[in-house]
Assembly symmetry: C2
DNA sequence: TGGTTTCGTCTACATTTGTCAACTTAATCT
DNA sequence: AGATTAAGTTGACAAATGTAGACGAAACCA
């Protein structure tokens, strides 16, 4: 079930985001678009594209004399996985607080909110009274 | 307002987590505790402790002939910040979906759920119909 | 057809991350 | 006091990340 190594560095995310969202995923346009956000040289962006291909996150197809890139992973699954990995190394006891913070600070559509409410309502009946800390050690992580 | 560079690598998180949760934050015990989870040599762990001190995330105080470490940042704020940074580079339009995924896959206590419900209920009235994609480019990110 | 622009490929280099082993020094035990 | 431990201190090194310039070939314009 493990999707194994999606791990992207911040720079790689930046590039992937453009590839995911552009309608013209060819080198020239990707370079131009990335540069609208980051002050990177053309070379740098090409380096990342190359590394992403090597990592298997992008595929190329030659079109005339330039390349067109295609992601091998869709954006949402990649985001879910990354977020999940981040949460994996957080103390279980405190995940709720972090999610609450995220929810508070993220712009959500009515639709998003309603869906969240539904998920929560479904979880509530079987929710435990408390989540134990899963940090190693003497369990001194006993705040609340 | 920027808290500037909390950025920790996965390994650093592992070490910080122990320092945050242990009741005996002295080198010997930290080393022992980290080793309960990761198969790292004593040297390796000491290296990370040193780097964390250099980065300003830990402070040391000599106690007899060993060191006692104190975090300069609390765990929850650090987690919130890291989670926030991750979300910053996700397409705004899709954050809701990722949060939904997180909520689905995270164990939450009754209390956590109730708090989330409250936050959501408060947001709903003023929630927009939809969140526009904030990726750069021609806005081709028009899925839904 | 030769010059200019546009791409791609290769090479390079400083930093950070991940991992240690060796050496030194202070504490302890007998 | 001498031997043995238990810390800390240094130095190293490979891989990943962040950045980019140089060079070569194909495409395009005059």
């Amino acid at each position: 079930m493990a999707v194994e190594a999606t791990a992207m560095s911040p720079s790689e995310w930046e590039v992937m985001r453009v590839v995911w969202s552009t309608r013209d995923p060819a080198t020239p346009n990707i370079v131009k678009t990335v540069q609208q956000k980051r002050d990177w040289s053309e070379s740098t962006i090409k380096t990342w594209l190359g590394r992403l291909v090597k990592k298997g996150l992008l595929t190329t197809k030659r079109v005339s004399h330039s390349y067109v890139y295609t992601p091998t992973i869709a954006e949402v699954p990649a985001m879910k996985q990354t977020a999940g990995e981040l949460f994996d190394h957080l103390c279980a006891m405190k995940k709720g607080t972090v999610i609450a913070d995220l929810v508070t600070n993220t712009e959500l559509s009515r639709r998003d909110i309603e869906q969240l409410q539904q998920i929560l309502a479904a979880k509530l009946p079987t929710a435990p009274e408390s989540i134990p800390c899963n940090c190693m050690g003497e369990g001194a992580c006993a705040h609340d």
